[in-house]
Amino acid sequence: MKIGVFVCHCGSNIAGTVDVARVAEEARKLPDVAFASDTMYACSEPGQEGIIEAIREHNLDGVVVASCTPRMHEPTFRRTVERAGLNRYMFEMANIREHVSWIGKDIEANTGKAIDLVAMAVAKLTHDKRLTAKKFSINKRVMVIGGGVAGIQAALDCADGGLEVVLVEKTPSIGGKMSKLDKTFPTIDCSSCILGPKMVDVAQHPNITLYANAEVAGVQGYVGNFEVSVNRKATYVDWEACTGCGQCMEKCPSKKSRDVFNEDIGTTTAINIPFPQAIPKKASINPEFCMKLTKGKCGVCEKICPTKAIRFDQTDAEAVENVGAIVVATGFDLFDHTRYGEYGGGRYTDVITSIQYERLLSASGPTGGHIKRPSDGKEPENVVFIQCVGSRDKSIGRPYCSGFCCMYTAKQAILTKDHLPESQSYVFYMDIRAPGKLYDEFTRRAMEEYGARYIRGRVSMIYPKGDRYVVRGADTLMGAAVEVEADLVVLAVGAESAKGAPQLAEKLRISYDTYGFYMESHPKLRPVETNTAGVYLAGACQGPKDIPSSVGQGSAAAAKVLALFSKDQLESDPQISEVDIKRCVGCGKCIETCPFTAIELTEFRGQPKAKVIETVCQGCGNCTTTCPQGAIQLQHFTDNQILAEVNVLCQQTLPNYG
């Protein structure tokens, strides 16, 4: 076999701490190596041309590139060798950047390790086989999980692109957090007026199927052919029949039900339509508060419903949808301020969260848009806003900046002055972070035109004094302690990952970070992809985001789906397991360990045998380590290939580099 080795400098990334010329020189001495050289940027156009030239000139059978991580450039180099006429699997990569040059400064030690890694790659390559990808067809339907503004945008863009879309929303209506906002920064346009039409578009679009009040229960399959089971939770109302007339709401005697949409400011009826612009505009019953469901008495709604839509015996139902791609847009949750004991820990009625304040500001909110204190309904004079509640605070496990709180606080301070011209707003802040388009100008306006008093410093304590609150904090610019008497305190709560986000990630087989936010495939270059092919991200499920970014990402995810679906067939990865039928004894251990249920039992001449379902196998290799017979082998990572690597490593006689 004739092998070529190319050692990349990666500028100074590798060459700075690895003697690349020596690595190439040592590689030249290895058996089967016909050509070895070092190159400035192997991935650049001249770098790739150099590889192609060498393959042709030396008639190479395989190529090793020692450079960065395979995640970054393995596909690049596979295409390169293919262009030179080799099979793309006759290529190996040695990671001498992340595994060597970036983790140590000792040139001698690094060079030794790089030589070893190259030798291993060469040894493995001598056992490589030509593999060919199979083609499979794709189902050109897409599921969007989450009906907030990001999900709505992704769904509409996909639907407008001609795809069939299934939109799954957990709550009884789409709209997400944005539908609860009064106005949006920095333009102060009405949130529901710009979101409402989009919500209606979702309802009316012929290509969109909407499952509201439903959750994803399980995901099977792979890119192009996912099978998603959706749990449609009981609403106790037949939504086919319900016209959303609202008569049931008027007559329902149980008026103490939790008002989830209004963030528990006030209560609602047990049967309700969450808000006037709800999509779908259908009623649902909260079983905890319905007297018919809890005590067996009442049933008023059933009697008065003009379309006879009430179904007290309704149960959860399952729907199964086959789709080719999934967009995850499950959004975020707001920080639970009751964890701050010094701010009352939820005990003080007039210390409310920013989203509750939005509901007070909103014309469709519980007070009709009048700012009233929850405790006594009085108009507040002094309103104190406290920023960074659940952001940038290591002590409660939220060290990150939530990004949008500075902006919505400025907006709320402006709106407060609009609603109550006699009022005075105070804003305790740490820094103002307003990097978006027209954002800084907006916060300036809150201070300069609307007279909000900005005080830089954290609040140490809030305590009631008579029917007001004393907000005690530091003014770090003045270097003094300050106390402000407030009638209403609004906590600018930060963002955290949605409840249940890790559980959904497990179902989708995507990664999430320490805080439960979903991980993108690459933070800069693949921001809406996940590491699971065919699953894309949109909006704040990936990290705190404001509306413009969420919408932008929703469209980006839709573009990715449309690009994926522009092909009729996809190529499957041939790096999957294969059963040696002669060795297999049909014990079934591999079936038990396979996390993707990609192996099934078949019969061959009356004997039970394992069989790999090629399109389902993800190439994780669990089965190969389980098989007592060594009968199941992962292509491109066979026992022989791995043993060749180990052997060569054990035979190295280079100095010990610790």
Partner: protein, 296 residues
């Protein structure tokens, strides 16, 4: 068998807060907690020591811990939050072997540092519990509205004190409620009273303790109840000075919580020493009787 603890009365227990010490001993005895005074105990270092030298300050408390270890006890308890802070901080710091070695060198003898250190409040709340205390109440305090005041160091810093909530503690609230008292939502439970600045900068105490008395009046408390000798002294002994400085007319009795437990358990005046309080509680008790009479 009743639990036995090594008892550290602290300097104030023998002087300015004799009524706290006396009522603590009486209440513990009645509730079946045996106290053995730490033999030959010495000052915990109080406020000054740790501002000068951490190792020396810890050595003072470590000596008392070492003395307690010679007894057959379950742990060390003290009524005074300041002594508690010093004992707990010493115990906490000595988990670092290097620091422990420095302390032991100062003491000329090893300290095992194995006994848990707790406040009497913690033991009464966690070991005995409000329910069992409620069962023993003979003279209910119903009709008496109390503002429970913990002071700033009973629960802080939380990683060392490791008891109750550092922003909104509830142990004393629950114990007082078990006695039948009416608990006012006192917002300044863990505020500073001015502490030992009463000597150096009296004005500071006038301001801070004055605020506490104002707040207690705001929530319509008949009396305050404390767990700290220094807080009690600032609020009670200096109440007249505070009134003069702030142009106020407070007449707020400030009890130790052990005095009120003792009263509800029917203990006599010689173990409660209510006479030692500067602001006479007679008015508060009279009001309590009136409320009860009008309710029945």
């Amino acid at each position: 068998m009743s639990p036995t603890y090594a008892y550290y009365p602290g300097c104030s227990g023998l002087g300015t807060s004799a009524e706290y010490d006396r009522s603590t001993r009486a209440v513990c005895k009645t509730l079946g907690i045996e106290l053995v005074d730490i033999p030959d105990w010495s000052c915990c270092g109080s406020t000054p020591a740790h501002t000068v030298d951490h190792a020396l300050s810890c050595a003072l408390s470590a000596r008392n811990i070492g003395q307690a270890e010679k007894l057959d006890v379950e742990g060390i308890i003290t009524p005074c939050p300041s002594c508690l802070t010093n004992l707990k901080t010493a115990s906490h710091r000595m988990r670092n072997p290097e620091f422990k070695a420095r302390v032991e060198k100062l003491l000329d003898e090893p300290v095992e540092n194995r006994l848990p250190v707790m406040s009497v409040l913690q033991v009464l709340f966690e070991q005995v519990g409000p329910r069992r205390i409620a069962d023993r109440v003979t003279e209910s305090l119903s009709g008496l509205r109390l503002a429970p005041y913990y002071g700033c160091i009973m629960n802080r810093p939380p990683e060392i004190m490791d008891f109750d909530d550092c922003e909104n503690p509830i142990a004393m609230d629950r114990l007082m409620a078990a006695l039948g008292a009416d608990i006012a939502p006192f917002p300044l439970k863990v505020e500073c009273c001015g502490a030992s600045f009463g000597v150096a900068r009296k004005g500071m105490v006038m301001k801070l303790s004055g605020k506490l008395l104002d707040a207690a009046e705001d929530v319509r408390a008949d009396a305050m109840v404390t767990a700290c000798p220094l807080c009690q002294m600032n609020l009670d002994l200096r109440q007249k000075q505070i009134n003069a400085a702030n142009n106020a007319r407070h007449n707020m009795p400030v009890f130790y919580y052990t005095q009120l437990i003792g009263k509800a358990l029917g203990l006599g005046e010689d173990s409660l020493m209510l006479d030692n309080l500067i602001v006479r509680p007679v008015g508060a008790f009279r009001k309590m009787e009136e409320v009860r009479r009008s309710a029945s």
